[in-house]
Symmetry: none
DNA sequence: TATGAATGAGCTTTCATTCAT
DNA sequence: AATGAATGAAAGCTCATTCAT
């Protein structure tokens, strides 16, 4: 009986993920408003009513999608900066992991930026508050690495740690967007130092 | 007689701008798809038919909005980097001007990023080709400043000029988005050097 | 003063006819519903308000058009069958006149059949009652010719005179429609007897 | 299970026919442009969306209507002229069948001629090409009967067979229209010979 | 429990008509 | 008297959502 219900639950979860996978592809390809619930149902080979058993409305499906993906990314990035090593190693791993995550989940990234669909404009706004908090928490964690490096005399205190965290994250995103937009022309550097050097090395001659 | 027709034209222009102002606010608040032409008409206190006298359809109204605003921004930014002075002065003026433009046109900026409305993900995609070309042209102009600085031995050649241009531009945008989203918490630095230093000064101790 | 007002009235009539001429062309080209009052106004180089000075609405303009044209056709056909001569000469003149009228007024004929636009289906229905009465009156006049011919022993009484009138009129229309539809292939016979013979000569061998 | 799906399909077909019946009545009463999809939906007691499940747009519904009816008429008329017998018997049966079809399907006939909805004038133009071909094919078949009669020496060769076919067909239509418009006053002759005599017997005394 | 037929609010757009100038 | 800017009812159509089976 417990086994039975477990099997059922597993089956349900599998169906839920099947729907989300189809929705992810469609939303990232065409944008939120250009995908209909019927289209998702048809491609996932479920009845439209079944979709509404799993997600109470279109918005919920969309949010669940974002949440699930953000979860995976967050875990991977947290893991990268929490692993042992000095500040430079941690940043290096962060740059590398962010690149891998982006490149292995192009559809999801597109989803993030495909359509903010609401009162929002900024890369964060329009996302679920849960996701925004998650990103904020991560940036502070990243800032702590800079702070620790500065305290250790390893980094110059050229800006506030949080500013530096935002700057590094943004620098990575910039390279990744260039790559996403035109993979032939722009390559996300395999060596993380290429990006870190923009922060680490002096641009202006002394 | 000429006076008469001038008054009419002025009146027409005023109405057109009134519609655009209302549309700008609504689109930037709620996104393209969540604003109806009736809503715009009602808020602008015109009959729905009158909107269609000025803009042949919703898409045209939206594009006209983007184009007009992009025009103003482009002019301001070009002026900033074309004014006399060495490379550092030009970049400084650019950072400052971009900040002013953003902060004085928050609604417009929201519009730019409110909704890409398509299968796109990148911040440029989904925009009118005219605007994309304009942005691209500007980035190349910005890249030339870096290139000139490198040739003059004033900058270290730590990355390709175009990459540096994109990086600086995105760095500014990122801080401005943080400010836009939460003006109390995040302040766009009044001193441009705060941003430029991230690129200009060594982060890692030698 | 009387001269003055006469000149004005003439001018007004000229304008009215100018509008009707433009409307006739547009309606016959595109059909009633596919022509807008604005289109007519623009092509006639009048303000839209001016059209409404002459015709209280679109329907009225259309009806006026039909009425005026029907007037001209009716006059021509009546004249044809009222002119002196025996029954055969009258019918001959009728066939010839109907041909000339059709061929010289293709646009108008198209107008008649372009769109019945109402609860109607038949070639008469949907037309103004005035026009229907006019046509009915004409057919009776035509029937009288057949009756007179039969009474004079000049025609076989193979059917009621009214039936014969309808048949002859329809025979002419048939030839003319064939011609209208494909002027190269089907020619309306220059010699009226070609049509009359279908009625006048035996088809079945005795 | 199969029974189940059959019942569903029958139900669907019934609904489709219900919509078409309502549409037929409305279109034939008021003409294509003067009937709205909402009106059809309301009268058929369906939601507007349901109409669009059956017919992808208004035009399709209209065409489906014409096609279905034309199909039935075509079959009946072909059957009439293909049944055994000499040319006169075939023509007689044709005249009779056409009369029956018209009189039993007044609404449909009205539909055919209710509105050509275009720049067309001719009774055929504006119809679907499929229907026009069907009519054309039928007229040629009818022409062959005349030709065969002429070759057999049974008919005088007073005109080209195709012309005679068109003439007979239009003659029937004309009388049927008179009847349709005013059933009390004009009677479509019960005896087909009344019409055929106009073609078959000499009108003018020798 | 899963289905998908049915719903109808709400969208964009057109155009006959009005009326202040 | 002539104008044409302004109006808004109403059209065709879509699609998120519901609920009887």
């Amino acid at each position: 009986m417990s086994k039975e219900s477990t099997r059922r639950e597993r089956e349900k979860l599998r169906q839920r993920q099947e729907i989300m996978a189809v929705a992810l592809n469609l939303f990232s390809e065409k944008g939120y408003h250009s995908v209909s619930m019927h289209e998702i149902a048809a491609k996932a080979e479920f009845a439209i009513g079944t979709l509404y058993k799993f997600f109470s409305n279109k918005e919920e499906l969309y949010k669940a999608l974002l949440l699930e993906q953000s979860d995976r990314f967050d875990a991977a990035l947290f893991k990268a900066i929490e692993s042992p090593g000095d500040e430079i190693m941690k940043l290096r791993r962060y740059v590398q992991t962010k690149g891998e995550v982006f490149q292995n989940n192009a559809a999801t990234i597109r989803l993030y930026f495909a359509e903010t669909r609401g009162a929002s404009f900024n890369l964060l706004a329009g996302l679920d508050q849960v996701i925004r908090n998650r990103i904020e928490r991560f940036l502070h964690q990243l800032a702590e690495i800079f702070e620790s490096g500065i305290r250790a005399g390893r980094f110059h205190p050229i800006a506030e740690p949080y500013i530096l965290a935002v700057a590094l994250d943004n620098l990575c995103s910039t390279f990744l967007f260039l790559w996403l937009e035109n993979p032939e022309k722009h390559v996300y550097p395999e060596n993380p130092d290429t990006i870190l050097n923009i922060l680490f090395k002096a641009l202006v001659n002394p």
